[in-house]
Symmetry: C2
Subunit: 344 residues, 2 copies
Amino acid sequence: MLEEIRQQPEALARTLSAELKRVEKFKRLVEKQRPRMVVLVARGTSDNAALFGRYLLEITTGIPVSLAAPSIATLYQAKVDYRDALVVAISQSGESTDTNLVLERARAQGALTLGITNESGSTLAKLAEHVILVRAGREKSVAATKTYTGQMLAMYLLAYALGGRDVRIADLERIPDIVDATLGLEPEIDALSERYRFMRHSVVVGRGLNYANAFEMSLKLMETCYVVAERFSSADFLHGPIALVEQNFPVFAFAPPGVTWPSIGETIGKLKALQAEIVAITDSGNHEVDATATKIIRLPRRVKEILTPIPYIVPAQIFAACLATKKGLDPDKPRTLSKVTLTL
Amino acid sequence: MLEEIRQQPEALARTLSAELKRVEKFKRLVEKQRPRMVVLVARGTSDNAALFGRYLLEITTGIPVSLAAPSIATLYQAKVDYRDALVVAISQSGESTDTNLVLERARAQGALTLGITNESGSTLAKLAEHVILVRAGREKSVAATKTYTGQMLAMYLLAYALGGRDVRIADLERIPDIVDATLGLEPEIDALSERYRFMRHSVVVGRGLNYANAFEMSLKLMETCYVVAERFSSADFLHGPIALVEQNFPVFAFAPPGVTWPSIGETIGKLKALQAEIVAITDSGNHEVDATATKIIRLPRRVKEILTPIPYIVPAQIFAACLATKKGLDPDKPRTLSKVTLTL
């Protein structure tokens, strides 16, 4: 898992340079045939990339986005009207039966279809009319890391193709370097993780573009460290779940500077008053968090908010991998799981 | 909380009879002006009713549904194109600033707007072009119960107005009686709850039409019992989080007979092999679950799957209220929370 985390700068740079031509072609197509809505369909970690895509696409393109619920097609056999939609299936293996079924039926209805996968020879790559390949290389660890950030990059490329405001290729080309600089935090995060050796449960909060990262960090904590990890937007957290929090309750918070900071900052302030243990992931552009957080993981470079999601998940991935080791677990072989999960 | 749980049959019957005329009028309107998509916007318990609505509306009407992310409007100031959409805001108090803002902006764009609220004099009731009133009476407990089932009923009325397949008023009129019969389980659930006196964390699983109930049960466990309660679809659970489960780990499962049973049954089977403690909520139409569940809460009447969601949440509400009392907590006054939560 740590090895694959470290491969991310290279994998991201490879995906970006190799896929750009195909993305430009897709951009010309959707300029003529603009979809009325975007439907994202995925499971597991890929579904967290879809959740990120939901925010990125609505914010930058104004096209309404829906995250599909596969059971509506697979169990209820309902036919949702996707005629003028762009339906995007996201799957590391490209062999997720339920997401493939949703895409296949949408294409039969006349929807524009796009597959985002790490496997060029997969069923998904064949079923979808258009493809963006995540060129992360084979992922051996059950816990997905480099394919998650690769799928997020594919979401930026999709936003670019749809004419997304403030989505520039020159900015995306900076991401591999920012991730590379972030990897330098590994020794510091490894030392920090020891403190959480006996943590059994926690909450992760994020908002807006980093909301999906709260889901992804909690999934990594669940599957590699067996920590019961809740995930909330800082707004939803105040609508009930904050009642959970007592002294020393561990809360992880994605706290980039920018438009989400007032909301995250308010939540962290309330948590501090409850004497919770707050671990903030932030960068050198936010020092307001220093007054409230118990521990801070600070990315070395200040990052534009729209570019934060990929670099910000990296310390969370490292933390989960290191904590698993501290707990005497093998992060590459979580109990009960296998790499490809088939569901109906 | 228990008092308000017991008021549900009466509240549901009152809402149904009082709102039907208004719903018929709305039905005639949307027959002429069919929306291209439905956007649901809500927070907290109301967001769980929206999640239920998402499944119900897509399954019965085939119109694509999106659950809005309010921060896209409130923090990022993005303008999503909702022109031919029906935008529905759901709020008990009708005073949720962020959901109201999304609805107001959508109406300004020309979207058809509907407010679902318990308060006829609220800001939401004034902002929305059309209204369905949840006539649950004043809800005093911070933990929402009768307004949740009232909002779910409003979702059925909306599905009916949109011409939803298999959504019949005569069927809906049976729900209050089914809920009334379910309330008879209270002594049995009260006795069962004692076993969970020292439970600190748990997982709740559901699928399809009962997926939202998994969210709602876990929210009740978090806010009234301070149990760290995860919620998953049985499909997503197998994609990672099942690694959490060890011997005696408590899992609550919504297990109605019908199309979701094979998926829920498969998950419960895996959990049994891991020696988890499984509490199944089911009815007299499903005896297959008896071989795998540790404990069963069985509704006295067999219920058509499409009608299960309202009756099935009732034992979960009772369980949370009884367990809070067993834990020495006051379910009506969760620490840190107030009834109306204002978020940006």
